[in-house]
């Protein structure tokens, strides 16, 4: 089977004042159409860097990414990204946020009416049709992430990239979102790469789990095929022997083979401090 996406021997080297820092070393991965892939690994292992290279937001130092036979050189809507912090434009309503993407991607292919239907279809898909006219600050974190997913789906991407999409949500909301995502996946059968910290999430959602070693020079440590029938139900799987074996394998990789000794780094969200306004006047 011909893979839709070929991540071909990529290295990523960041120049720093103290010399070059090799974040990724020889990451090599082929992904088939309709496959759901999870990237899992400790903080700072370069999962996000892999995703950003596929998205085109970063350029690999060597090696490259080939999507449908063409090399990825810049970001584009055929590789839609769902960001961890939803990244909705705060001044637009849920509908307008999706509209911005649809207008950009389907400017020539759809008329006004079709666009409206397409936007509404995608918002309905993520169960946000009741709050289309709400702005991001008027809805909960989970709802924002739903709109973010709707925006990405509305671009009709070849491959959907998700950077810890549910990382900022509480456990119950996260479970809801995972169920929604599986429901959508059953309908659309997208090709997905998802970054996650959550072992259960990875096993529940994925066809394959890519486990990454710790950086520097992070690379793919092990790949675990998840052979569980779909649709999957979290309740049934909790008692499923196979599921628990997969889970144990991931846990063993993370906490035995790749145990992190150094103190945990600050999470992404903590680093984001807005500069105060008045000090610069």
């Amino acid at each position: 089977m011909n893979p839709i996406l070929d991540i071909s021997h990529i290295d990523m080297v960041f120049p720093t004042p103290k010399g070059d820092f090799t974040a990724l070393k020889d990451v090599n991965l082929q992904i088939n159409k309709g496959e759901y892939i999870s990237l899992i690994g400790h903080s700072g292992c370069g999962k996000s860097t892999v995703l950003n290279i596929v998205a085109g937001l970063h350029q690999a130092t060597s090696g490259g990414v080939i999507l449908n036979g063409a090399e990825v050189k810049e970001p584009g809507p055929e590789r839609a990204v769902v960001f961890q912090n939803h990244s909705l434009l705060p001044w637009l309503t849920a509908y307008q946020n999706v509209e911005l993407a649809v207008k950009q991607v389907f400017a020539k292919k759809m008329n006004k009416k079709e666009m409206q239907e397409w936007i509404e279809y995608n918002l309905t898909l993520v169960h946000m049709d009741h709050a289309m006219e709400k702005r991001p600050d008027e809805i909960s974190g989970g709802m924002k992430q739903r709109v973010g997913i709707a925006r990405a789906l509305a671009m009709q991407p070849e491959i959907l990239l998700m950077d810890e999409p549910f990382g900022a949500l509480d456990a119950l909301t996260r479970a809801h979102m995972q169920d929604s995502l599986m429901e959508i996946q059953a309908e659309l059968n997208n090709t997905v790469i998802m970054i996650t910290h959550d072992v259960d999430e990875a096993v529940l959602l994925s066809d394959r789990i890519i486990m990454m070693t710790n950086g520097p020079e992070a690379t793919i440590g092990e790949i675990l095929e998840i052979d569980l029938d779909r649709p999957r139900s979290r309740l049934d799987l909790a008692k499923d022997e196979k599921y628990n074996r997969y889970r144990a394998q991931v846990l063993e990789f993370l906490y035995k083979k790749q145990r992190k000794v150094e103190p945990m780094r600050k999470s992404k969200t903590e680093n984001k401090v807005k500069t105060p306004i008045t000090s610069n006047l």
Binding site: S87, L89, Q104, V105
Partner: protein, 331 residues
Amino acid sequence: MSIVTLANKATNNVGIANSLQHILTKYLNVFIAPFLGILFFLGIWSIAAQNIQTSLGVFPGPSAVLTQFSSLYEEHLAERDKADAFYERQEKRNAARVAQDPNYVAKVRKYTGKETFLDQIITSLITVMSGFILATVIAIPLGITLGLSKILNTAINPIIQIFKPVSPLAWLPLVTMVVSATYVSDDPFFAKSFLNSMITVTLCCLWPMVINTSIGVAALDQDLLNVSKVLRLPALTHVRKIIIPSSIPMMFTGMRLSLGIAWMVLIAAEMLAQSPGLGKFVWDEFQNGSSESLSRIMAAVLVIGFIGFLLDRAMLYLQRLVSWDKSNAAL
């Protein structure tokens, strides 16, 4: 009556007392406290004023200023009556001449009476708004450009840093000379004095707006920038849909700062340049030196303060209307 109902009644009373206290605190904050503050100020003012002797008599207290307000208004009405009478006489005269000689082209002359206090207020308001709007038209696009280009920002930043601390009044003589040299016209649409004041206001409004806009643009959230990249938004759409909305709160911060400075500067510029406006009114009264001058100046001071306050509030309302970020525009 059982103990339980008694107890209930007691809690009920406490509840009523609590809500009463709540309402009281609210009124205390909203009305009573500011009212007491003003009353206290008036008291101090009135006592202090009685004890200050100047060459023009006793320093005006609140009551002297209050009477001055009504006499300023009466003067305004009287002046308007005079103007009306003048135009009526002119019309009659012209009508009479046209009746005598049908070929006569009637001349209409403008009434050239003294500008009243109200006229000066309006002149000042028009000047400050024109200068401010002109500055906005220049500063916002410039700020966006600087915010977008790091190199351009580094190139222009030293110039901004040097001109920013210059009091616009230092510009005034230069502006005056340049305007009188370059704006030569037999039938000027704008008075030169108006241009001088307006350009001075513009010069002082520019910097806070340029700086705040460029900071707002440069501080664009990386995530939103990535969204724009993934969507491959063309440059112009990127500016229109992402950059401008996201920096609107900072733009308004700059605009409010500018307008506040502009109003202060304008009064000083009018005093210095003798261009019509509230500043000229204050200076004329000072030169006039009558027994009423001080109370008239004090009335002008209060009006200047009140208008400055209103201008700031107006900007705030505009911000609330336009900006998506309401937290930045709390009243």
